[in-house]
C-alpha cells in the first residue's frame, strides 16, 4: 500500500514538472532528492533542572553561615542531581 502511494506521488510530481500539461507548476533549481541527514536546528532551551536542589543547598548555607562541612549531605544530593541532568 505504501509502495502504491509512493508511485502515485512520483507520478504527481512528474506531472507538476512536465511541460506537456500547460506551464510547469514546479521549477526546482536543485534535484528533488531527500538528504540523509537533518539540518541543524536551534538548540531547544531546556527547563531549569535541579532548582530544588540549589534552593535546599542555599538554605543550608544561609543557616550555617556558609560553612561547607556542615552541608555535605545537601551538596552530595546536588552533585548527583547535576550528574543525572548532564547525562540526559
Amino acid at each position: 500500500m505504501a509502495a502504491q502511494r509512493g508511485v502515485l506521488f512520483q507520478e504527481k510530481v512528474s506531472r507538476l514538472l512536465s511541460k506537456q500539461h500547460g506551464r510547469p507548476v514546479l521549477k526546482p533549481n536543485k534535484p528533488l532528492v531527500l538528504k540523509d541527514e537533518v539540518a541543524n536546528r536551534r538548540v531547544k532551551r531546556g527547563g531549569a533542572s535541579c532548582v530544588t536542589e540549589i534552593s535546599v543547598l542555599m538554605a543550608c548555607w544561609k543557616q550555617n553561615s556558609f560553612v561547607e562541612s556542615v552541608c555535605s549531605v545537601e551538596m552530595k544530593a546536588f552533585y548527583s542531581c547535576v550528574d543525572e541532568a548532564q547525562v540526559c
Partner: protein
Amino acid sequence: MAASISGLLKPWTPRVFLVRWSRYNPYYLEPEVRKEAYIKPEAELSAEEKEQRELKSIRPIKAATNDVTSSVFSDPVISKFVGMMMLDGNKILANEIIAKTLENIKRKQVDKYHKAPEGMKEEIECNPYAIFHQALENCKPVVGLASIQKGGKFYQVPIPLSDDRRRHLAMKWIITECRESKHRRTLMYEKLSQELLAASVREGNVIKKKLEMHKMAEANRAYAHYRWA
C-alpha cells in the same frame, strides 16, 4: 559526535604526516600512558578491557604530547596548573616556579612537623602534592553565576558548574590572587606556597573569593528559574 563521525570515516593516511598536531581524525585513539594499565595479566581483564585492547591493536593512536609521561611524578592536575600559570610560552619558568613552590611547602611542613609535640605529629601533612590537591578542592566553587538576559535586563543567575569549569575557576583564582595581591619583593613561589597552605586549611583570600561567589549566588537564588527560560 566523534563516535558517529568515526563510524563513517575510515583510517586515512594524510599526505602530511601527523606527528603532534592537535586536530586528528576522530578515528585515532588516545594514548594510554600509565604503566598500571599494561601490567595487568590477561586473566584479570574484564570483557570491556579485552575489547579495548583489541581495538588498540587495530586502530591508529595519536602521538603523545610532551607533557604526558609515565613517570610517577607526572600529575595531570599539576600540568594543567603549570599551563595556566605560563606566560608567553615560557613553560620552563612555570615548571621551575611550581617545583620551588612544592619544595617550599615541603620545607615549611617538615619544619612544623619537627617543632610539633608528639601527639600532633600525625596530623601534619608533609606531602606537597596532597596539600596542593586539598587546597584546590577547597577552592572549587559549588555553584557559579551566569549572566542571562530576560526582558531586556541581565540577571546574575546561579547555575551548577561542570567539574572542568570548577577546577579552572579554582586555579584561575589562585593564580590571579598570587599575582596581584603580593608585596613587590615577594617571589611568586613564596606567595603561592603561602596561599596553598592557607587554602588547604580553608583560610586565605581565595577561600574568601569562593565564599563571596556562594553568597552572591545565594542572594540571587530567586532568579534560579531564569535558566534558559
